[in-house]
Amino acid sequence: MIEDLLVILSMTTTSMTPILLASVGEILTERSGVVNIGIEGIFILSSFIATLATFYIGDPYIGLLLGVLIGFLSGLTHGVLAVYLRADQIIMGVGYNLLAYGLAVVGLVAVWSSHGASPTLPEKTGFISFYVGKQLIIIQPLAIVAVGLAILMWYVLEKTSLGLRIKACGEDPRSAEANGVNVYMIRILATSIGGALAGLGGAYLTVSWIGQFTRSISAGRGFIALANVAFSNWNPLTAILGALIFGFFDVLSLYIPIKLSLLYGVVLSSQNYLFLTIPYVATLIVVAFISKRIRMPRSLGQVYIKE
């Protein structure tokens, strides 16, 4: 029993990382007043590019970096279109998700002639492992980095003048502008950095965790990250907790069927599907619970036109 718990906990740290990274990035974006639901697409595209790069260059860390770059560029595009061209942010996000998915699958087929998954990566990024009793515990370094970034983001938002300016953009851009803040620039930067963090999370999915790119590499994790943003009430520290919770359910949905089949010798095939719904049901319940208590940035998603 204890071993189960330990395994689940260690797996949770692994699974919570992409969610946390993307959440922290999106918190930054949304605090500045822009909403980017294209995180799912960024996950898919950056994980594809990262996989591709790792195969051809041989170094998974470069893959990670390229994933960040893809995320950054995607966020930048979203920011520029939203801020300067006053595009509808939700519709753009929907379009981007479709686009990214298409690009990744076309790439998957073109490069590896496969419709399901890429070949397994020869090398992944390193991880920390140690034994507790008989159990092997794995901690991803990126998990620690993610937590560190969350704390850093909290510090910037709450304790620095930059954070003040960012928050002003998201609450009351008109007043912010009157106080000399360049709302356009801050929103674009925030969206780009938010995208970069999501890109890191996406690259992590293949290059540090799963080890190969598949069509369903993300499976809605981008939207779970969005739910986490709301759950955390736009606070990066709470987002750590949220990511752990959501990551936990993610792990559970994979772990229970395996455990059951080990324990009872039952090979579940169709019931598997039910377990796979756990993360989404959990997210839905959490969102249902918290939605009355949260307060989003006042000017989120609203078009701001400089006078």
Binding site: L81, V94, V105, F223, Y273
Partner: protein
């Protein structure tokens, strides 16, 4: 005197309608052009030569339209999911849950078809199932402030796995346990029938929107919340109605699929259902949230999708190339300014 004004106004009306049409087409054309650009660059970077790329585009745009039968089959669900996105959009609600509503509609229709052997009842049941899902989403939004995008996406995935579970646990074909039993032949419908049903629903929606009080109120709320309040409308009621209709439409679209497409089954990867809900969003946008436009847009997009399947056969490029095109189209259509700048100039006043 009145007759004179009448005639004058009549001519201007036609002029207005034509200029609106031209504007819309121009906007869509620009969006497509952009999509091509992006696609070309991407394919080039993957290592395809230019002449293969042109061949790909050629296949995409020409071959898809030659088989009318197949076109009907493909476009019918798209008409439904396009409407499913557009109706709530008219009131200002994003219905991203078309996928899940479609899945549950398809499953419900299939199961009811086993029992009743009637296509009409099955389709009705499927529509109701979709409507129910839409209702859940909007009630969450109206009464508990749950963001409809997040709840819809979660329900999409839940439905995906739920349907797969039910298929593989309860209604699987003993000879092919990864897919459902086929629908009974009495309940199946032909391709022309499918198409007629969809188009009829679209026309019905058109009539409701533009010729009934409910449709009128929905449109007013979408255009001016303040004016709606002034006129004494109660927006939250209409918003709920619009999502019930939206969900029902997606469910309707889903019902058509297992009853109309051979071999009348749903498999555990949802291959025949997947993505139709999402593409509906693009179709709704392309069709300018107008039922007639949606019919045209879905025919167009269906041709592209079929073309995409052909492209795969002929050149090996994944059919998802169509997703890339539509994705770019959606993004371009999200930008009002560009069009106002480029297209509107001459048509103003």
């Amino acid at each position: 005197m009145a007759r004179g004004i009448f005639n004058q106004l009549f001519i201007k009306e036609i002029y207005n309608k034509i200029s609106y049409l031209i504007r819309s087409l121009a906007e869509s054309a620009i969006a497509l052009l952009l999509a091509f650009l992006v696609d070309t660059l991407f394919l080039l970077s993957l290592g395809y030569d230019l002449h293969i790329i042109f061949r790909i585009f050629g296949t995409l745009f020409v071959t898809g339209y030659s088989d009318l039968n197949y076109l009907f089959i493909k476009s019918s669900p798209y008409i439904a999911t396009g409407l499913a996105f557009s109706i709530p959009m008219l009131v200002g609600i994003f219905n991203i849950g078309g996928e899940g509503q479609l899945y549950i509609g398809a499953l419900t229709a299939l199961i009811i078809s086993y029992v009743t052997k009637s296509s009409a009842l099955s389709i009705l049941a499927g529509s109701l199932a979709g409507a129910f899902l839409g209702l859940l989403i909007i009630l969450g939004r109206v009464y508990r402030n749950i963001n409809e995008v997040v709840s819809a996406i979660m329900l999409n995935w839940i439905m995906y796995y739920l349907v797969a579970y039910i298929i593989t646990s309860y209604i699987y074909d003993p000879y092919a346990p990864y897919q459902s039993r086929p629908a009974p032949s009495e309940a199946t419908i032909g391709s022309l029938q499918m198409f007629i049903y969809s188009v009829s629903i679209a026309i019905l929606i058109y009539i409701v929107l533009y010729y009934t009080a409910i449709g009128y109120r929905i449109r007013v709320i979408g255009k001016s919340y303040k004016a709606a309040l002034y006129a004494g409308f109660s927006p939250s009621r209409e918003i709920i109605y619009s999502m019930i209709i939206g969900g029902g439409l997606a469910g309707f679209g889903g019902s058509l699929i297992p009853l109309g497409i051979r071999p009348y089954v749903i498999d555990n990867t949802m291959s025949v259902l997947y993505g139709i809900g999402f593409l509906g969003i693009g179709i709704g946008l392309l069709g300018r949230n107008n039922p007639i436009g949606i019919i045209l847009a879905s025919l167009f997009i269906s041709g592209l999708v079929i073309g995409g399947e052909n492209v795969e056969r002929l050149t090996g490029v994944a059919p998802e190339i169509v997703d890339v095109i539509i994705g770019v189209v959606i993004i371009s259509l999200a930008m009002p300014r560009v069009y106002r700048l480029l297209v509107r100039r001459g048509v103003f006043q």
